[in-house]
């Protein structure tokens, strides 16, 4: 099909609900400081689990943030998403009534949807059988409600799409939202993702040998795996011309994105396929590898991820790999929201001028080869112009977004 005419697309609002804070400013301050915000799990009984840490959002009171939807009728992931979206709109300075009248929608990514609701129902099943399933909770199960919650909360009349491409889902969402705004199908899109900490994923990752005991330490020689985490993140995308006309603060421009599939293995990522995804993202953004100033890594904290991600970067960048860091070292792996948080911090890095750090790196794993700079410790002052944000997933679903500084 012929490429349609496109409008430039910028990010003008950021919203976060995370273990590192609620609101983009709080979140960014914690990341810049390299503060680890994971902690012992409280959302489920961890008795019998050898590892009990995760990136939970302990102090989240949905009623504090949500004005229109009734929190009890929605699952935790939907609450995260709708709260993050409301925060992003407030941050953008766009009057809510104007947004509701515009051609506006939402696209949100997730890995496990309303897993906390499902586990609540599993508890009822375990206690009293399937016929005891609670009527109101059953209605809160569909993962498609995550984007629906955003539209209901903000009275958006456009599309409400939930993408379930696991741990790269927010990047899929951002790419789709970018196309909708660039192509003129929508004038505003809220894009991001949400997930909730749950027992089954905690158990599954533990059994795969992928779960860290207490500290997630990507790129470090002594890394021991991931920490599961939760939260909601939303970015407001709009056309550049519109943002300028209304005098909006522009965090960054969405330059392009790419998505592809390894088609090799459900759980082992493939560096060649990821390298192809990076190259396609550069083509989409109209940039060359030399222009990339920073990579926000998928960086889960497993040896396999680090080796694959660095190998893929080496295929594209040669021996001059840009600084590459992982915010999962601070907030854990927020699953479907992960690349959304990555995108948010990329926007802040471009806007405020810094490189996000990898916390807790003591010894960069020599096995990764020379020239790997994970920005250890705390944020580094810098003036990045173009950055890329990685998201990889179960099923070999790769998605990469590219953001640029708007002068």
């Amino acid at each position: 099909m012929p490429e349609p005419e496109t409008r430039r697309v910028v990010v003008t609002g950021l919203g976060a609900v995370s273990s590192a804070g609620i609101g983009a400013a709080e979140f960014t301050a914690a990341i810049r400081a390299g503060r680890r915000t994971t902690s012992p799990i409280t959302s489920f009984d961890t008795t019998g689990f050898p590892h009990v840490h995760a990136g939970e959002v302990h102090d989240f009171e949905p009623a504090e943030w949500l004005r229109r939807i009734e929190p009890t009728q929605w699952g935790r992931s939907s609450q995260f998403a709708a709260s993050a979206a409301r925060l992003a709109v407030a941050d953008s300075g766009l009057p809510e009534s104007e947004l509701a009248r515009a051609r506006a929608g939402s696209v949100m990514g997730t890995t496990s949807g309303e897993s906390a609701v499902i586990e609540e129902l599993v508890g009822q099943w375990s206690a009293d059988g399937l016929k005891s399933l609670g009527t109101d909770r059953v209605g809160a199960v569909p993962a498609g409600r995550i984007a629906a919650a955003v539209n209901s909360e903000l009275r958006l009349s456009g599309e409400a799409l939930t993408l379930a491409t696991a741990c790269s889902a927010s990047n899929y969402a951002l790419g789709y939202a970018y196309d909708m705004v660039a192509g003129g199908d929508a004038d505003y899109m809220l894009a991001g993702g949400a997930d909730s900490v749950n027992r089954w994923a905690h158990a599954g990752f533990y059994r795969l040998g992928a779960l860290a005991e207490e500290v997630c330490r990507p790129f470090d020689a002594h890394r021991s795996g991931i920490l599961t985490a939760e939260g909601g993140v939303a970015l407001l995308l709009e056309p550049y011309d519109r943002a300028v006309a209304r005098g909006a603060r522009i965090y960054a421009e969405v330059l392009g994105y790419s998505v592809n599939c390894d088609a090799e293995h459900m759980v082992h990522p493939d560096p060649t396929s990821i390298a192809a995804c990076i190259r396609a993202a550069h083509r989409s953004a109209g940039v060359t590898p030399e222009q990339i100033d920073y990579i926000c890594a998928h960086g889960t904290g497993t040896r396999t991820n680090d080796a694959t991600e660095v190998a893929a970067a080496r295929e594209v960048f040669g021996d001059r790999i840009p600084p590459i860091s992982s915010i999962k070292s601070m907030i854990g792996h927020t699953m479907g929201a992960a690349s959304g948080f990555g995108a948010l911090i990329c926007c802040q890095a471009l806007h405020e001028g810094f490189l996000p750090p990898t916390a807790g790196v003591e010894e960069i794993d020599p096995a990764l080869g020379a020239g790997v700079d994970p920005v250890p410790g705390t944020a580094r002052p810098a003036r990045p112009q173009v950055v890329q944000n990685h998201g990889f997933a179960f099923g070999g679903n790769n998605a990469i977004t590219v953001f640029g500084r708007v002068a």
């Binding site: 490429e3 349609p4 499902i118 399933l133 456009g158 993408l163 089954w200 599954g204 390894d262």
Partner: protein
Amino acid sequence: MSTAAVEALQAPVTHAVEPLAITAVGAATPAGLGLEALGRALAAGRPGHAEPSVQEGESLPPRPIRAVPDLRVTELIGRKGNRHLDRTTRLGLVSCRLALDSLPVPVGSRTGVVLGTSTGSIRSSSEYSLETLHQERPYLVNPSLFPNTVMNCAAGQIAIRHGLKGVNATLAGGHLAGVQALRYARNALRHGHADRLLVSGVEEFCAQSAWGWHQSGALSPDAAVGEGAALLVVEAEDAARSAGRRVLARVLACETGYADRGGLARALASVIGSALGRSGKDPAEVTAVSLGATGLVGLDRIEVRAVRSALGGALPDQVVRVKETVGECFSAGGVLQIAGLLGLWQLENTGAARTAVVPAVSRDGQVGCVVLDLNAPVG
């Protein structure tokens, strides 16, 4: 709502119509395997197979059931690596195999997958969760089954087994999954994320979801809980024509919107109107509607009211209710509405031009509409 009012609500059309061509369909439904089985059952008004395979000791709710009789897994997806696949993934793989087998040559590696679900296999995730409660240690779950708990498992397996390296998307659309998947596919093709796409919807029958539907109160008492999968092979129409591929139908529009509960009928009528507008079709040209909300309390009436309103008062001559055969298939419903139409059209084989609207409406607020046509003059 009057036609004029519908027109007033239409969103501005920003692109010329770029039709998608459907070049193959695979269907695994309670009517049996294949499009013809579905078409024949619908033509005869025959309900599908009513006996699900249940696990030992499992009780089912007291309501009608429709289930795919025999998936012929060994024959259609091979013996290798099947042991840990759940029913959702099996349904997806079987519908994929049936569609690809109907094409004269394999699809290339620049093909992608767009698969609609709602929760993935709810049996897989909820049983995994239950294991953490019942095992002696909560982590004594089977690591081989973990990928089944992730919603993009079926799409990933389809890609792996057929070497499909194009975009691989899973969307949680529930009743909107069909129109959302086609919309996602149209965008991905337009931006070159794949040359061809396998657009699918899958819903498995299991005790967990059967009880869920039963307890939810969302289904009328005589409505069956069903299961099924359909997969449409789509690409840009001009690409299909220039490759000499047979075009089974064209997708002219796939529009979506959102409204609160009180505004669903109006929003659905509006989105049907804008889908027809985008297709360059007049409501009077519509020959068929394939309804999706059959059996859903409240929504079934909203859907019919919206279709009538968008089409100027009356329903078209051909009204298809695929759920009377396949039961409530949630996120597979949308693609099965389309498969049902195509199955009937192939059976009728009259050569007459047809235009169909395929509406979708969700309790949560999403509305959508696909417009299809057949035998439109080429040129």
